[in-house]
Structures are given as C-alpha cells and as structure tokens.
C-alpha cells in the first residue's frame, strides 16, 4: 500500500499517524511540566504545528489532545473548555502566520494567549454556572494568568526558532506532500 493512499476525508495514512504522534507529544509536554503551575509548552507546540502543518491538521491534533485529557482527568467543564480554547489559539496563529516575520510575533501570540487563558475559560464556565461565577473565576485566576502569559512568551521566544528549524527539516525528510 502506498503511503499516499487515501483513507478518510481525503487524508493520507501518514497524516493520521502524524496527527496521532503530535497529539501524544502535546500530552507528554503538558504532563512533563505539570508540576509548574501555568508553565507549559502546549501553546508553543500548537503554534509550531499550525505554522508548519496548517489549521485543519492542528485542530484535529487539539481534538485528540482534549479527548485524551478526559481519559486522564475525567469529564468536567474545564476539560470541555479545551475543545474551545485551544482552537482559538490555532485559528489566531493560522490567521496571523503570514504577517509574523520573527520569533517576537509568535512569542507575542503565545504570551497574549496565556494572559487571556483564564478569561476564555471564565467565558466558558459562565455558560454553565452564570456570569457571576465566571467573573469570580477569572478575577481569582488573574495572578496565574499573568504568570501564564509571561512564561508562554519566554518559552516561545527561546524555543520557537530552533523547533521550527528541526520540525521543518524532519517534515522535508519524512513527510511526502
């Protein structure tokens, strides 16, 4: 069977495998840094994958990642929020990637996303428990959002270029377009 054989929705076998491996890389990345509150590489990896693979494939990666979270932590509103919040980052990166010329741009996207993370979740929680709960949730988490934004910026500015270089060369070597 050729690696280019069509399987599902016009996707190739290698796409299915790649999406699975990359969603696993995000889960592993999240778990590896889970001992540090709100310091994560998930945002960075989603930006990296969106820039190199596009919005559609990265969105599928995020769906698998969010579903894996349910298996790990059980079903709750915050896990459901993952199905909404990460695609926001993916869409924003997809829309801005043509305009961003350096690592500073990606670091800004990642930083602003980290800063707004609690706000997005508060909006989502408001749907379930009301605006008052959402506001309290957001206000309570502001210090953690500030930490999240800053750490996202620092991680992205240091790692995005080396990762882009490695990831693009790997894709060139193994990924048949």
């Amino acid at each position: 069977m050729s690696s280019n054989a069509e399987t599902f929705n016009g996707m190739k076998v290698q796409d299915l495998v790649l999406i699975s491996i990359l969603s696993a890389s995000i889960t592993a990345g999240k778990l590896a840094l889970s001992f540090l509150p709100n310091v994560e590489v998930v945002s960075l990896l989603f930006i990296l994958y969106t820039v190199t693979l596009g919005v559609k494939k990265t969105w599928l990666i995020s769906v698998i990642f969010a579903t894996t979270e349910i298996f790990l932590y059980g079903f709750s509103t915050w896990v459901l929020g993952y199905y909404v919040v990460w695609p926001i980052l993916i869409l924003a990166t997809g829309a801005l990637k043509g305009k961003v010329k350096s690592e500073y741009g990606f670091a800004m996207i990642s930083g602003i996303f980290g800063l707004s993370f609690g706000f997005f979740f508060a909006l989502f929680e408001s749907l379930f428990y009301g605006i008052a709960y959402g506001m309290a949730y957001w206000a309570r988490g502001i210090p953690l959002d500030i930490l999240h934004g800053a750490s996202n910026y620092i991680i992205a500015i240091i790692l995005i270029n080396p990762l882009l270089k490695v990831f693009k060369s790997q894709l060139k070597q193994y990924y048949i377009r």
Binding site: P37, E103, Y104, A107, G111, Y129, G130, A132, M135, A136, A139, R140, G141, I142, P143, L144, I146, L147, A150, Y153, I154, I157, I158
Partner: protein, 356 residues
C-alpha cells in the same frame, strides 16, 4: 541575542508591575486589627440554625473559620484554584454532588469563596446549605421553589386499637421522604432497602415482618408501589394499615395437605418474555411453590422481613429501584406478597414486570 534577553527582562518586569497592580487594586484585601463578626450556620434539613460571634484579628473569613474549626465542626479541602471548599459543618457532611454551603454577607450573596472574603468589623456572615439546583441566581424565589402540599396520614393498628390521623404541610416529593422527616412524630423506625423505605416500627408498635405488613392506601385505594414510589399530591389521604400476610387459622395446622394444580404466568414486557407454567403442588403458599420451582423459573430471590423478594426470573435481572414484579391472582391485583398468597386449586398467578 541581547534583544531577546532584553525582551525577557521586560516581560519579567511587566509581571512584577502587573502583580503589584493586581495586589493593590483587584486582590481581595483584608483589614488588620480586632473585629467582631457574626457567623450563622443554617442547615434547614437538619433543623440546625446556630449563630456564633467571634472577636478576631484575622483578615479573611477562611482564616477565621480555620481557626474556629473545632467550634464550627468544620471539614474542608484547600482547593488550589478556588480556595477553601467547605465539605461539612456542625456535624453535617455535604453531599457535594447535590448541595453546597452558600455564603451571604450582610444578607447579600458573596461573590468569592470563604478564603477571599475580607472580614469587616460588624459584618454578618451566613453559611446556608443549599441545593446545587438552586445555584444560578434564582434569589427571587419565583422559580424552582418546591410546592407546598397538605396531606393527611392515618395509621391503623387494629390489634393495638390504635388509629391516629396526622396532617402535614410539606414540600417533599415522595411519601417516604415525608415519613423519614416526621420519623419522630410517627415514632417510626425504618430500613432503606433496595425496594425503598421499609417501616419496621410505627407509633411504638414493632411490625413482625414474617406475619404482617403495613398495607398502604392512597385516597382509599390500594397503593401499587411502596412508600418510596408514592408521589405526594396536595390534599391526598394516605393510610398505613397493619395487615396479616395470611389468615390466622392456627387450628388447621394438622390438616392433610391436598395436591393442587395451579397456573403460573410470567410476563417481562421489556424483554418480550411471556411464559406459562402449570404446577402440581402440595405447598400452602405461592412463595413456597416458587422456591420449589426455582430452577424451572430460573429464579433468584432474597428473603426479606416482608417475605420473598424476587431479584431474577427467567434470566431477567430486576432493577430494584425502577421496577417491580406485580402479582395478580386470578386476574386481580394481589394484596400481599408471594409469601402471603395461599394456594388454591385452579388458581392462576401472574407475575408482571412493571415500572414503579
């Protein structure tokens, strides 16, 4: 490279500034010094309404409650994102799947949890156990309020010459809940069985589960379910009447037993099972016959205080909470369980699966 380091330093500086701004303007801030505050704990379902007055120099309600943990009989978890989560007070443990402690500050809903509520001199805090279904700002009481009903309950214990009628105002949904709530008035002892509430003692009389039971009537008619399945309706009259399982004919003990032929029909509508059996038996009661024929009927059962209770029949496992086996004797609803039905030659017994 220098530019990158500079931007990182800039971000760290921004974090420090934003953190300071948050602490100054947004973070809940307490007031230092001695304060007098009152704390009222209301757990309506347990008839608990206690008020405490504390002199404290703590800044936040959570700290004060932690300090007074013993007096408040407080059980709590320290939740990383939300602060103190109260899971019990004054000996009452919260069922977190359905209820929580609602906090009011001077009569108004608190916007934060106990750990973030700044104590102010003279403030009155109320911690009230509420149902999670009330959450979401239905403070005007227009919606979701349980309806109040007036019902009467007559207890008749013929052999003790007891007949008492009680009238209750209640917003409970089921008769079993009302009886549980009024256990003291009714002098009731009960067990929670898988078939619902089962009364073992009432008005000081102990029910002998092997020979008698409390027959339930709703507005003069036989109830088709147990106490836990009877929905309370305004104006309803409920009766609990002590009845014997079998006629008390002790003098017949020595009589010879005859062989009787009876028909047995089992219907499980949900599984499309409808089977008819004919049995020759010398047994006196249907429960004994059924026990004898357990293999043929693929029967599993338990012997409870109220006689035999079938848990599985013809390979179908009963869900004790939502369904039961309705018994018909010669086409009419049986007034007793299997252990109370006397076998007569030619009788037709039906067991029909029904929803409560």
């Amino acid at each position: 490279m220098n530019k990158k380091i500079l931007s990182i330093i800039g971000v760290i500086a921004a974090v420090i500034i934003l953190g300071a701004l948050y602490n100054t303007y947004l973070a809940p801030s307490g007031v230092e010094g001695e304060k007098e505050v009152s704390l009222q704990v209301i757990i309506e379902k347990e008839d608990i309404d206690e008020e405490f007055t504390f002199q404290t120099d703590h800044e936040f309600l959570g700290e004060l409650m932690e300090d007074e943990q013993e007096a408040l009989e407080l059980i709590y978890d320290e939740h990383s994102a939300l602060g103190m989560m109260i899971s019990g007070m004054l000996g009452y443990e919260v069922d977190s799947s359905s209820e929580y402690f609602h906090i009011l500050i001077n009569g108004e809903d608190a916007e934060y949890g106990a750990s973030s509520i700044a104590l102010m001199d003279g403030d009155e805090y109320v911690l009230e156990l509420r149902s999670l279904s009330d959450y979401g700002g239905n403070d005007d009481g227009e919606t979701d309020e349980a309806e109040e009903k007036e019902v009467s309950l007559r207890v008749t214990l013929d052999k003790e010459d007891i007949e008492e009628t009680f009238t209750f105002q209640t917003d409970f949904e089921f008769l079993s809940e009302l009886i549980e709530d009024e256990a003291e008035t009714l002098e009731v002892e009960y067990e929670d069985t898988e078939f619902g509430l089962s009364i073992t003692e009432i008005l000081g009389y102990e029910v002998d589960g092997s020979t008698e039971y409390l027959h339930i009537l709703v507005n003069g008619e036989d109830a088709v379910t147990g106490l836990s399945g009877i929905e309370l309706m305004d104006g309803d009259e409920y009766e609990l009447e002590l009845r014997s399982f079998a006629p008390m004919e002790d003098d017949e003990e020595g009589t010879a037993t005859d062989v009787k032929e009876v028909t047995f029909i089992v219907t499980i509508d949900t599984e499309d099972i409808a089977e008819e059996f004919t049995f020759q038996t010398e047994q006196e009661f249907v429960s004994e016959l059924v026990e004898d024929e357990a293999e043929v009927l693929e029967l599993e059962f338990e012997t409870t205080d109220f006689g035999m209770s079938i848990t599985e029949i013809l390979g179908y496992e009963m869900d004790g909470s939502g369904e039961y086996l309705h018994i018909l004797v010669n086409g009419e609803d049986s007034e007793t369980g299997l252990s109370g039905i006397e076998i007569k030659d030619g009788d037709v017994y039906e067991l029909q699966r029904r929803d409560f």
